[in-house]
Symmetry: C2
Subunit: 266 residues, 2 copies
Amino acid sequence: MTEYDTHIAVRPDVDGFATDLVDGWRVGGGINGGYQLAVVGNALGRVVAEKPDPISLSAYYLSAAVAGPATVRPRVVREGGTTATLAADLWQGDDHRLTALATYGDLADLSDDVRTTASPPDLPPLEDCVPNTMAPRELREVAPLLDRFDLRFDPRHVGWALGQPSGNGELQGWFRLVDDREPDPISLLTVVDALPPVTFDLGLMGWAPTVELTVHVRARPEPGWLQVRHATRNVAGGMFEEDCEVWDSVGRLVAQSRQLARLPRD
Amino acid sequence: MTEYDTHIAVRPDVDGFATDLVDGWRVGGGINGGYQLAVVGNALGRVVAEKPDPISLSAYYLSAAVAGPATVRPRVVREGGTTATLAADLWQGDDHRLTALATYGDLADLSDDVRTTASPPDLPPLEDCVPNTMAPRELREVAPLLDRFDLRFDPRHVGWALGQPSGNGELQGWFRLVDDREPDPISLLTVVDALPPVTFDLGLMGWAPTVELTVHVRARPEPGWLQVRHATRNVAGGMFEEDCEVWDSVGRLVAQSRQLARLPRD
């Protein structure tokens, strides 16, 4: 069992599913939201037979999660046809961490047609990108999650680490979980929220609390490295949207997400 | 009171809020999803004092709504700080139409900074655009909602009406509710889902059922005409994402939405 599978494991209990959030996914004062999504998504995949895959998942974050025991309380909103609409809440004791709605189904049932007009990120080759192992020590200390995956940043978008952000509001790179754990629909829920806030590229260092994040999983990813692209186009009113695209090793756009987050306080 | 305000009106009752869905918002066999969002959003704006505005709203559609009585059942998930997280369900009798999560607050409380890098649609002047009153009769008969607003299509994206879609997967135009009803945060919930499916521009005529729609309201719109742009970049697996931007009369990007919808069956 890979590290990642151990970290997202859930056990059925009286309230739904029990899990343990791992400190290794901490970012600053809280546990990474994409990791929480995968834990919740993993539990929801066990709720309805023959509907194991997230197709759409919307999470509203309520309070910062911490390392330790947590409970996922799932609810079937509607079952029938090729998909099920589900709800879930993540609790730690009396603290409500997130509430979510989701559509689950079997991605293998979707038709094979692909008429995608979006283009993959124009990433330099893996060996020309900047590995997260080169992230500043102070960043790695506040963000141990950087040790959970191999992330190779596009060199055009790492200026923030040197105090020279590009100002474009973009971050992109190659992504692979440790232990060569291959991507699957559940791990994509983590991938869409694993990179630093795209606002780093605007010179706004600091963690950006997510208000809402919706991810659409559009296909089961093929094994291998993923290409991930984050961008923001509307930084205003103390908030920003962050769009993410995840492309698999055969060039399929397998996941799209958008989140609304609060700007870090300067 | 304008037609629109009459149509989205809700009355407190034992279950939450009672309303009447109006046939004038029908599209094909169902009532328009954006109109349903505004009815639900209008009810949620009355749940928490000093938090009247939708900031983020995610709806999962469960069954086709019909004209007639409906009930919005709201629930406070978390209250505190500058925002509240709310949930709502829309019912017609025993039929569950949609379930939603939302973040509400007061848009007037947001900071004034605007660092938007997105560009407004490059729309021709109003007088050079194609009014929805010119939509084919057969379309207007299946979509009476076209009489609820003044919509001026960019001529570059109306080829579908003549059997010559551009193939770009884009639709944009000027938008204004009838009675010169000025835009507000609630009406933006309708605007993001009022245009025909962007798949019309790909030659895929037919209504596209929405699975999930999330809208972020980023600012209170100024009075006047809105500019609306729809685009899709990932038509695959029998589904597509539809992104929408709404710009107000002073060039502010006031709302962004993304929906996941099923392709119409050919």
